[in-house]
């Protein structure tokens, strides 16, 4: 064995896969998991953040303060999951077409939000109208993303493109 103080364990390339089909114990309330995959979740993430901010912050605070991480914070985690599921249900009920267009664009563009602004504007408008949720960048001054100031050289071109 080529172990030493600086390399206490030999590196191995072959992984060893662990699966565990046992369900959670019955004393823990069962909550459905979120069924959205990565692109719809990214598209809806700012709306989930707008509605579920208290629950999310609760969970993050609990997790950072607990010694074992998520195991002590299962109740807060259940609240987070339920709130996110409610946001996704509402978006699917009211704005499904715009939602699908936006995450279809994201899936094509390597999940780069800045390349899908044209599809994002109608989604933001629809969600603001039906769900009263606005997308706000945290730690910023709160201007909507489609109203950012453009440099004057590009102003006329960009304004004509994004004006709906």
């Amino acid at each position: 064995m080529t172990t030493s103080k600086t390399n206490p364990r030999e590196p191995h390339a072959l992984p060893y896969y662990i699966t565990d089909p046992t369900p959670l114990p019955s004393h823990i309330p069962s909550v459905p998991e979120i069924g959205a995959t990565s692109a719809p979740l990214l598209s809806a993430s700012y709306f989930v953040g707008a509605r579920c901010a208290p629950y999310n912050e609760d969970f993050m605070l609990c997790r950072s303060q607990s010694r074992s991480g998520e195991i002590d914070c299962l109740k807060e985690g259940r609240r987070v999951t339920r709130c996110a599921i409610s946001v996704l249900e509402d978006i699917n009920k009211n704005c499904q077409a715009e939602f699908r267009k936006h995450w279809g664009c994201l899936e094509n563009e390597n999940h780069d939000l800045s390349r899908c602004r044209l599809d994002e504007a109608p989604l933001n408008a629809c969600v603001a109208k039906f769900l009263n949720l606005t997308k706000v960048i945290p730690n910023s001054d709160g201007t909507p993303i489609n109203d950012y100031e453009t440099p004057s050289f590009f102003k006329n071109k960009v304004k004509a493109k994004y004006e709906q």
Binding site: M1, G35, A36, T37, P40, S86
Partner: protein, 86 residues
């Protein structure tokens, strides 16, 4: 005036480049389900794509269901590595 026979090799070269490029592009689109390939994948993207595979059982197929099927709760796979004790 250049005889057309002299330009035939150029035509052949251009057509071969075109076929190769189109074939590569078509193979990539076929693999990725009509989307452009994912690039610059970091650990987060790999983790999310593995989760997508567990949810939809197909490479790069997305679903916007609010709730996951029951079997998703116990379908996680963890990787470990063996420590040999000689």
């Amino acid at each position: 005036m250049i005889p057309f026979e002299a330009l035939l090799p150029y035509g052949v070269i251009i057509i071969m480049f075109g076929v190769a490029g189109t074939g590569m592009s078509a193979a990539k689109l076929l693999r990725e389900g009509g989307n452009k390939p994912r690039v610059h994948r970091d650990a987060w993207d790999k983790m999310m794509m593995e989760r997508d595979m567990r949810l939809t059982k197909e490479y790069r197929k997305q679903s916007d269901e609010p709730m996951a099927p029951e079997e998703f709760k116990t379908s996680s796979v963890w990787r470990a590595s063996r420590i040999w004790d000689d």
